[in-house]
Symmetry: C2
Subunit: 195 residues, 2 copies
DNA sequence: CGTTGAAATGAACGGACGTTCAGATAAAAC
DNA sequence: GTTTTATCTGAACGTCCGTTCATTTCAACG
């Protein structure tokens, strides 16, 4: 058997990436086999190699895609204005984006060690660029006197960790709405950077 | 060949756990083979089974040991007193403990998905007990009016995420001493819970 | 100094892994 | 209706996996 009715590259390609993302996030890159991914898609393992040169590249592409989407979305969402306004905007954007993409967030934070050296460098650079957006806001607020920040770098990392941590316990339809969580996190953030 | 000069169970047992901890943390549970662990210790794979019934139990024991050590250390370190004092104590303890045990922290947070259902339940209970210590302090401070906390549960999770996040970027001998990091994190925490 | 028992070996087990590729199939193009 | 071409299969490859176990080694004991 081969090509079935209605099976095309435009369907199989994305289906493979979606299945890989879900399975990698759930069980970890090393614990998921190509046969498992293929089975989820309804295809045999060999067919995956029409869409990715190998397993490592499949992981890398998923992570790069996630971070590039993140940066692109942020460029759309970011606002000009006073630092407090910019910071609130960042917090709400970050919380929202990350709560909506639990699998990709998980992957991008947990599977760095499974990347080859070259691929790791690319991913790290993307992540650094995003973190720098937050650090810039903190520095701007320090310059205007809106914020009081002892160490902008550590505060940036502390904020990112705090704001991203929600993906561990957040459940869609749980006790708190996304909007309620955004509010709480913004409140915590505001206090952290003002005397 | 078998037993070499000076090789005893009291040496091999801990050596296996140390090697497994280091390798699991570095490459991930699924990516590390029993042969790799054995090689690190200087024995063959079969010898590992004198010290652990299987690979899964080896992982579980490492995680349980870490969390039990954490809880025991906290019971020694915790102080009575006013909530702000108790909170500062917690923050300093947590940061110190976690920065000193990067591998174990990594393992306990990243390999939960590789635990069997029963083992997961045990680990989760230990983690919950620890988080509850922080939540209790926040609630106590709310009762005395020392703290203003909108949602004690979310604030607890936010704090834990923030305080633990340091293990990602902290490097011993880096720009900041552990004491400096403690100070920064305590300052951030204090602001988060006070108006 | 012979015996015992803890500690480790080395070979083997069935199975799963990532990856390759010649061949089969069906939709599209002519 | 024949040819072309994109898509997928099925089998095979060499390798590694977790685990078992009969056997070997050697320190300790009597």
């Amino acid at each position: 058997m081969a090509r079935k009715t209605g099976s095309h590259a435009e369907i199989t390609g994305p289906a493979i990436r979606e299945a890989a993302l879900r399975l990698f996030a759930r069980s970890g890159y090393a614990a998921v086999s190509m046969r498992e991914i293929a089975s989820e898609v309804g295809v045999r393992a060999g067919a995956l190699y029409l869409y990715t040169p190998d397993k490592q590249t499949l992981l890398f592409d998923l992570m790069r895609e996630h971070l590039e989407t993140l940066l692109a979305a942020w460029r759309m969402a970011k606002v000009e204005g006073a630092p407090p306004e910019r910071l609130e905007n960042f917090v709400r954007f970050h919380v929202d984006f990350h709560l909506e993409r639990r699998d990709a967030v998980f992957l991008a934070y947990m599977e760095l060690r499974n990347l080859s050296e070259d691929n790791f460098a690319v991913i790290e650079e993307l992540r650094r660029a995003y973190e720098e957006e937050l650090e810039d806001i903190l520095e701007a607020g320090r310059a205007t006197g809106d914020f009081e920040v002892a160490d902008a770098r550590v505060t940036t990392m502390a904020l990112i960790a705090m704001l991203t941590g929600g993906h561990v316990w957040y459940r869609s339809g749980g006790r708190l709405s996304r909007d309620a969580i955004q509010k709480i996190y913004w409140d915590l953030t505001r206090r952290m950077v003002t005397k």
